[in-house]
Symmetry: C2
Subunit: 318 residues, 2 copies
Amino acid sequence: MSSGTQRPRIGIIGTGAIGGFYGLMLARAGFDVHFLLRSEFDAVIRNGLQVNSAVHGALALERVQAYCSVADMPPCDWLLVGTKSTSNDGLAPIIAQASAPGAKVLLLQNGLAVEEQLRPLLPEHLHLLGGLCFICVHRVEPGVVAHQAFGAVSIGYHSGPAIDREGRQAIVEQITGMFQSAGVESHAMADLQQARWQKLVWNVPYNGLSALLKTSTAPLMADPDSRDLIQALMEEVRQGAEACGYALPPDYPRQLFETTEKMPDYKPSMHHDFVNGRPLELEAIYARPLAAALAAGCDMPRVRALYQALAFIGRHKG
Amino acid sequence: MSSGTQRPRIGIIGTGAIGGFYGLMLARAGFDVHFLLRSEFDAVIRNGLQVNSAVHGALALERVQAYCSVADMPPCDWLLVGTKSTSNDGLAPIIAQASAPGAKVLLLQNGLAVEEQLRPLLPEHLHLLGGLCFICVHRVEPGVVAHQAFGAVSIGYHSGPAIDREGRQAIVEQITGMFQSAGVESHAMADLQQARWQKLVWNVPYNGLSALLKTSTAPLMADPDSRDLIQALMEEVRQGAEACGYALPPDYPRQLFETTEKMPDYKPSMHHDFVNGRPLELEAIYARPLAAALAAGCDMPRVRALYQALAFIGRHKG
């Protein structure tokens, strides 16, 4: 690090695609990164971590500071959490145990109110930040991640000991600076809730439809009916955000749609979750936005229909 | 027949579940029934027709007047058409060839505007009637039909040489009388379009969701999310019908919902069509009602979302 301050110790909780990619990038840049692993522990100890990136080439981290129990981890100054929001209930004790006093916790999850769910379960001395990853990445096998496109992380301060604007800003700039020095685009977000709604404009149509229709982005963008449906879903999310007080740029849905047209074919995480019989992140990505918009007087009928169809297949899979 | 008039000759076009069930019931009641068959011809000639009915018991028609080419059929006074609406383009010449002069054609199909699609292709001397079958029936194998519940046929006159109300009514009563004398519940419908919209209140949710979610009625009626979605879809269809000038009884959706709760578990035809890689009846059941309602100023957002999802899987199956 160029700042000359003491090198922060970073813990990665959940070394799937997100934790694996960002953890490896930070470790390769010289940061002191410690990985908490479960099912992937043996493979990572044996073979290290690997990111096959269409952007950065083939990256490997051969000697990984890996742990299969949080009790073995040293206390970390930063914790990057890349687990599914469906397992957030069991997350707080792990985070608390892995944290140094006054540590900063960055929650890299999609959906709404994931911080509000976790906050009451965390010790008060911890800072909680939210991060939104604009990235096409998936786990190929234990310890191996494929990175297809993008990579930017938008970060906002949620809650904790930093009370004033300057203190919060300094903490956000600390982590965006760490990402940037590791070659990862990263921005401070003025309003974390607004940023979460913006991300939902993408996640609501593409995550859900990729699971429901068992497909990926390229076929969805090539079919006239799914194109119309995606645009209608995006517009409903924009209206829901506006009703909740988060006015997005009017052409933001169109921009995201056009960006997705230029993307390589991509299977969102919910597709993988469904195909592999894992729980779907329906609470954070659908149920909470629907409830928030409805409470603000805005129905999102297509989003609700999609949610209900996903809830059905989530209960009846396999 | 009790009327003492000359016994009418009945032709069945499309001996799947619908044609097989009603044709067998009429033949067993002593009517002169002739079946046009394609893939099932050999099996029916060899084994006859069989209906395993939860209502009527095991019924068999051993000697079937079956044809594999319309050119071999005698001219019929009545034609009952039970083919899929997706093959209506090729239907008119077959009907014309199988018809006696002034014959009556009863189209036993779901959806909207199936008569309007067929009418311009038919000779003017033919009467065209529409029929809606309230029945749980499916084809088990060639020549074998399973009948799970119900069976009523609602019939209305569509178009043809009968110009006045009395003439049309007499023709409708002729066929409802034939069905009734064969043990099949049958009613005259004052307004065929209204009846088609009423039937859509059932077909729109259950046909589509059974294909999209690869399921049947019992799981759909047992899950809180699919229950809500079904009721919302039903209400949208009711609103669409009303916008088009067909005010349904306000509690008609609730009645259909409750009837379905009491039904045996049933896989609607669209489920079988999807699973077997056949075309889905999306034009008649979704696209035309959506266009008609939209032209009348009524959007049906959940129905449209369901249609678009079905159109996608219809193009990407297999």
